[in-house]
Symmetry: C2
Subunit: 381 residues, 2 copies
């Protein structure tokens, strides 16, 4: 058996979710666009999922656009809302690569992007946001919760600023969706990205919430599925699985969060007793399942490898990008020196974690940290 | 039990395909971008699928880009290869909406598209193709086989024309992939779209073959997965299922095609004995599983509905677009009058079809056609 502490990277599919999906692979397999009865089963299943998910967000059914995942949703929100007339996006310097790389790509095509700074805990500055708005601003894209350090941004305060200035507000909620409450109406959100495989649903399916009245230019055109905003034969089993995962998340959120918070706080307290250890991200307004720590003199990659030897799976910085050795852009943005930002350990807890996992980690980690520090000639006690 | 004659719209997932996918939902669920051992299982599974599929196409492993499906692949090929300098695409008037709608969208953004005419059997004219090439032409996009009338275009003759003129050649092979042999090297193909759910694989996964050396601008940017061409956490179970489906298609193609050809030809002969019936598309160079017929005085929609009552599932024109009542653009292009192009029945055979299905159809269809003709005051015998 292993201890899995990388639930922000991905999660296993819940057994009830898989069970809900299975009929749509082999028996109710019809193309939802067809006219005959077996296809109506697929169409109904999609409607049912869309319904559940829209209720969960306090949205309407026709405001949910299914996509292939969070990355596509972010791309659709950004690429779909910018234009020659409105050619400016405001975002933060700690967004997920799905937003940041897309912004870089848009800059290459002649669009303009403002990257807001964040403070030492990862929070954006609402004054800087307001001061960055110009007549050309199409969109503000600020993540709900950061995938590396768990910071929950003040999105309920960003929405009204955008609304007042007639600017669209997009939030990448991939890490928060299904984990902390979201009400798109109350929060004045125009566009919201979410992903299924972070909440015990299948990979390859996500959504973009698109508030009624918001006009987006599609990035994938064709048969006109998903209200004309996202073409392509619908991934019916994926959509069904996503719907079931949301149903379970909705039911379990409160109870689950209590458990996660308690495990998280216990671990953070434990880590902070190890000398020369730094917690990245805030203690308040932090995702209930996120821990991100640096141990002075310890390389993150080495730490992850030695934990792997003990069948403890964790991540250094973000696992949502390809294997690269660049220092984390998030840790740089909150003020860490490059050498320190290589040394972070991210633990993201999930529903499989038990106190047994925590005990194993508490037993194993100090030994590994001690070992790696001994091997590092530059580390001074 | 029912008789399913709409395999060009979608197919059920093969039980061996589903079996191959299952472990990747719940046990080998790791994010392939992570570093620890459980994630390496996902990474290996993707490699393995990529390997199988590349061999099937006579391509290299790093030329296969997994996408969310055929529609996304078409969009990536078209949107990814056009630029301000090379702002012209040549395509045909009978492409799938994934290509045609994307061309229309690109025209709105100031790009130029030539739509080649087709003859009465749906074949493009290679002379017209050559004469349409300009210095600004970026891409020729001609489908391998038509989804409505089964016409197999002369793509092995298009490739060399494009190569000679230094133009990229894309083919939408969604309907032919896994059904008739494809060799991307021999056929001089630069870009090829394929989809999993048309060959007994899962929905939500497809591929774009991108010949080594071809530079594409991604339409979905982010973490840099799929060699930087298509970002987003990989749909691991989908990719595994697609690989297995290709493995089975490769193994069964010859035998399966013999069966399909025989059933298809039997049905076509049968239909042609019904008075005032027209076969759309050619008899030679036609997909082995495609039948498309018009019965004078019969509405396609009504026919499909009455067949549905008998648990026979078929389609009128294409089922790959949302439910609309426009006449088929393909039937219009091969010269049918709008009133006739409403009346077509498409049957696409698959591995579930038996002679029993055929017998049932032969018994049922003439009665329905006769009934609908009797109800039609405009129909004259």
């Amino acid at each position: 058996m292993y201890s899995y502490f990388d639930n922000a990277a991905t999660t296993p599919v819940d057994k009830d979710v898989l069970k809900a999906m299975l009929p749509y692979f082999t028996s109710s397999f019809g193309n939802p666009s067809s006219l005959y009865s077996i296809s109506l089963e697929s169409k109904k299943a999609i409607d049912n999922s869309r319904n559940k998910i829209s209720q969960f967000l306090n949205a309407s059914k026709d405001e949910i656009i299914f996509t292939s995942g969070g990355t596509e949703s972010d791309n659709l929100a950004l690429r779909g809302s910018i234009s020659k007339q409105k050619n400016h996006i405001i975002t933060s310097s700690i967004e997920h690569p799905a937003v940041l790389s897309t912004c870089k790509d848009l800059e290459k095509s002649g669009y303009f992007v403002t990257y807001l700074k964040v403070d030492s805990e990862g929070f954006i500055d609402l004054n800087q946001l307001e001061n960055s708005i110009t007549e050309k601003t199409a969109l503000v894209s600020i993540m709900h919760a950061n995938n590396e350090i768990g910071t929950i941004e003040p999105i309920e305060e960003i929405g009204p600023i955008c609304r007042k200035n007639n600017i669209l507000f997009h939030t990448d909620a991939v890490q928060s969706f299904g984990k902390i409450p979201i009400d798109v109406k109350k929060m004045n959100i125009d566009l919201l990205s979410a992903s299924s495989h972070k909440i015990y649903g299948p990979k390859g399916i996500g959504l973009l919430y698109v508030r009624k009245g918001v006009m987006l230019n599609p990035i994938i055109t064709g048969g006109g599925q998903e209200f004309g905003i996202r073409s392509g034969t619908e991934n019916v089993p994926g959509i069904v699985g996503f719907g079931k995962a949301v149903e379970l998340a909705s039911k379990n959120m409160n109870k689950e969060n209590k458990k996660l918070l308690s495990l998280r706080n216990r671990l953070i307290s434990f880590f902070m007793k190890i000398p020369h250890t730094r917690l990245n991200g805030p203690m308040k307004k932090r995702l209930p399942n996120n821990i991100n720590v640096c141990f002075d003199g310890v390389e993150g990659e080495a730490l992850v490898m030695l934990l792997d030897n003990e069948r403890i799976f964790a991540s250094t910085g973000s696992a949502c990008s390809t294997r690269n050795l660049n220092p984390s852009h998030v840790l740089k943005a909150i003020g860490l020196k490059p050498e320190d930002s290589h040394g972070s350990l991210r633990l993201s807890l999930g529903n499989s974690n038990t106190t047994k996992d925590i005990e194993k980690l508490e037993k194993t980690l100090p030994i590994i940290v001690e070992k790696l520090r001994r091997m590092n000639p530059l580390y001074e006690k």
